[in-house]
Symmetry: C2
Subunit: 185 residues, 2 copies
């Protein structure tokens, strides 16, 4: 079927090509899904392509669980820059965590981010790059930026593997993804 | 203080040394915490040390979020073996996920694992190695093993960076961690 062919979304990063899974969201259509979890080849290729996009002077990276986690690890390994991870659940071992609400998001449900106190301290006085797998509305990126500021660091930029939709933030990214793919008629 | 010194837990993996954070758990004492998140150097060193411990014939890896995730990614990258990740929350995009209870655990609270259907299919007919950061009671490892069997795969072994406490499972690991560290008198 040509309609099925038309609805394919293919990405190609550093010689690694993937057909994205299309996920139905409500009655509104299909959304392409980039899965870094379970795909070390794509993760590594994306990190290698993102490496030269890290702004000069960056001193640390901040990301958020879960899909961007192996990507941030890989980018940290390649660049030699330390990275920190905001969690979406409070862990029992956290000490004086910073708590940050993420308003809105795609489905209108707000989320809460937790950054462990000792990890926040490591961002203090640093130029911090926000790293994500996909930036859509930018609500999550903005919440991460607030965590950087509340940690005493400075936001040095926003780097994502993919841009999906519109955001007012000045983001750096590898490739743009369609926000919606229409279902076959 | 010598008591503080006595209570230090140090790990050393492939030339990377870390003093572990000691986390108070109830009134019972302090538990050493290994943090792979935010530490790409330790993660990489651990994966490199674990690589020769992968049993001959292994065809895929299965891990669980979150702390073991960068480790499994790195081990997949080094070994060339594919890996899959069980989640602790249902994701909206999952198709026919396998749902698996993890009984007990340390704090007596049961957890639920979710393995997306298309990911479970990739384990079918494969010899699968369970990969974790730390294996303690083995309850999580046993639940992951059930996911392998329910996916139509065969459990080919259990590999952890650290063993912490007693388990009946025949696990392979780099180093043993103390289960408890007594608080200073």
């Amino acid at each position: 079927m040509t309609s099925a062919k038309k609805d394919n979304v293919e990405i190609s990063v550093g010689g690694v090509t993937r057909q994205l899974t299309l996920v139905p969201v409500g009655q509104m259509g299909l959304v392409p899904l980039v899965e870094f979890l379970g795909d070390s080849q794509l993760t590594k290729a994306a990190a290698q392509a993102m490496l030269p996009l890290i702004p000069e002077g960056t001193e640390a990276l901040l990301t958020v669980v879960t899909n961007a986690l192996p990507l941030a690890h890989e980018l940290s390994d390649l660049s030699g820059l330390p990275y920190e991870v905001a969690r979406k659940k409070r862990r029992t071992y956290m000490q004086r965590p910073l708590i940050q609400e993420v308003p809105g998001l795609t489905l209108g449900v707000s989320e809460t981010l937790w950054l462990d106190g000792p990890h926040a301290e490591r961002l203090s006085g640093k130029k911090v790059l926000i790293v994500q797998d996909v930036i859509a509305s930018g609500a999550m990126a903005a919440a991460l930026a607030r965590l950087v500021e509340r940690s005493g660091g400075t936001v040095h930029g926003y780097l994502a593997a993919f841009k999906q939709g519109d955001t007012a933030l000045p983001i750096i990214y590898l490739q743009e993804l369609p926000k919606w793919v229409s279902p076959p008629a």
